[in-house]
């Protein structure tokens, strides 16, 4: 049983507070993704779980044991680093076997496990090579194989795909997902790429400025962002926001359109995703500025109430810059956020 419990973990580097009291629970065998922009603290949190940083406050529990005072090698974890950290002076075989040798496993066990993991990552033919003779993608596979060979309770991954080119990233993402699901190991995965997060995670913990903003399943995060930040960070093209002014109880004036909204609240922000806007009567008055035919759909940027809105429209639509459109938001996809706190209402 390898569930992870993070209680009240905080971390400061000198005067800089990297993490403010984080609470998070990762269930056994769950794939948890820590997602956020650079500097949000996700890597710091991962390193604290790994034991490479000590928390300034709080506790970390793995598999029912309190580990925050233990060194990495006593925590039952294995880690894949962003730059792979494949030992240059050892062959691929020796790299994968490294942790197993440290555990003093019998030679046969080591050999068998190395071959099995190498086969899993499709690198059996590279076992005699040195890292200098490998491509970035191959080195990445070695790093993953090395971690998997340990058969750890928990696997931690620090942006393992971010140094690969786009095409390779796509391939590896699918492969990783398959391999990790099959291994049934609790995984904590750090990334700033929201597509990666959405594709791999059982649950995503969205982080910003040292705090966890929302923890939920990918679809839930996408559909029901708990804060303006989550809404704007996830989704490409990003969510549209515009301030709304109160026109009565439950009634809000948004760029000239009267919409039903929350009862409470003083100043709110109206938000809708580009793909939830349709061309139809009774919608926002939109003056088209830029039209980008992207193939599967057309991305239209239009001015709505002084702001620029993006809408993902049907590719058959004939529209050009300067046209006037009426963009109707899908009622059940509309979201409201408090203009001050950014929280969902």
């Amino acid at each position: 049983m390898a569930e992870i419990v993070i209680k009240g973990v905080a971390k400061s580097f000198g005067a800089f507070q990297a993490l403010h009291s984080i609470d998070l629970a990762v269930a056994d065998r769950e794939f948890m993704v820590l997602l956020g922009p650079s500097g949000c603290g996700k890597t710091t949190l991962l390193r604290i779980v790994a034991g490479l940083e000590t928390p300034s406050a709080g506790e970390v529990w793995i598999g029912g044991r309190r580990v925050d005072r233990l060194p990495p090698r006593e925590r039952g974890i294995a880690m894949v680093f962003q730059n792979y950290a494949v030992f240059p002076h050892l062959t691929v075989f020796e790299n994968i076997a490294f942790g197993l040798r440290m555990q003093r496993l019998p030679r046969e066990t080591i050999r068998e496990r190395v071959r099995r993991t190498a086969a899993l990552m499709h690198i059996e033919q590279l076992l005699d090579r040195y890292s200098g003779q490998l491509s970035g993608g191959q080195r990445q596979r070695v790093a993953v194989a090395r971690a998997l060979a340990m058969e750890p309770d928990v696997i931690l991954m620090d942006e393992p795909l971010s140094n690969l080119d786009a095409l390779l990233r796509l391939e590896m993402r699918a492969e990783l997902k398959g391999v990790l699901e099959a291994s049934e190991t609790t995984t904590v995965y750090v990334t700033h790429d929201q597509v990666e997060a959405m594709s791999l995670a059982d649950r995503i913990a969205v982080m910003n400025e040292g705090r966890i903003v929302q923890v939920s399943t990918p679809v839930d995060i996408y559909r029901n962002p708990a804060a303006r930040f989550v809404g704007s960070f996830i989704g490409n093209p990003p969510m549209n926001f515009i301030t709304a002014s109160r026109a009565g109880p439950g009634e809000w004036d948004v760029a000239g359109l009267r919409l039903t909204g929350p009862e409470a609240g003083e100043r709110l922000e109206f938000a809708v995703r580009p793909e939830d806007l349709e061309v139809g009567p009774g919608g926002f008055q939109a003056a088209v500025r830029v039209v980008e035919p992207l193939g599967p759909h057309t991305l239209v940027t239009a001015e709505v109430g002084g702001r620029l809105f993006r809408a993902v429209l049907d590719s058959d639509l004939a529209v050009g810059p300067g046209d006037e459109l009426s963009l109707l938001p899908k009622a059940d996809r509309v979201r409201w956020f408090d203009a001050e706190t950014g929280e969902a209402v």
Binding site: A50, G51, L52, P71, P72, R73, I77, A78, M79, F81, Q82, N83, A85, F87, P88, H89, F98, G99, M102, Q103, R146, M150
Partner: protein, 289 residues
Amino acid sequence: MRRSGARRAAGARNDAPRAVVGSGPAGRFLFGASVVLLCVWVLVPIYLLLVNALSSPQEVTGFPKRFVPSFDFGSIRFFASFAGVAQALWNSIAVAALTMVMSLGLGAPAGYALSRFEFPGKEWFRMIVVMTRAFPLPLLALPLAIFFIRTGLDDTALGLAVVHTVLAIPFATLITFSLFSGVPLELEEAAWTLGCTRWQAFRKVVLPLVLPGIAASAVFAFIVSWNEVFAAAVLTVQNRTLPAFLVQSLNVSPLHLKFAGGAALVVPALVFIFAVRRYLFAMWGIASR
């Protein structure tokens, strides 16, 4: 891409630089000629010393000189059997070896600490190390001579090695600092997650990667000690090193002794420099920042 190339070489003190030489044949010839000239300028004097060393004593004092060695080992034999030379050679080796061990033993851990940690006092330490470069270190032999007499280290290999170690520590520290900085911390961290203690990670991952560089800086420390003259001359009487021996006997020693002695100074240094030539630039470049 061409830059102002040929400067007049070969010891000329008139160093007015030439005007631009382009990539035309005349320019290339001048460039090539100056390269050859400079190489000759470096190599010929060493060659001449070796000619002398490999000539009989009569040829050394004779005139005019021939430019080809006669491969007579008379001078070398005279040198080797001269009273005190064998001990001097042995002492030089002993002092240099001690210097090598001490400077690396003290400097390498410090270099590692500087490369991996931020700690208060780091800048102070760096400053002391840098100060040693700006100080005429051989002068330390003067006060240390008294100290050594009191502690019984006077005229010993260990005592001189201490002074030489002060000379060599800045190099050892700065070079190992640069070596360790070249090993990403991630590699050690990976080792920690794979079951290593700090020391195991260092031994199994960092050390193999820096070993060639450490060997090179060990050789470097050896040469620094081997070549040092002033402190050796001041601090040793009975247990003289080779440079001290030569300096103290320069007034009275016959020519062939001087040249054979010079060759004994030069040849090991040449061999060592050749062995570490790949690291020469990295080391000197680093150590002089």
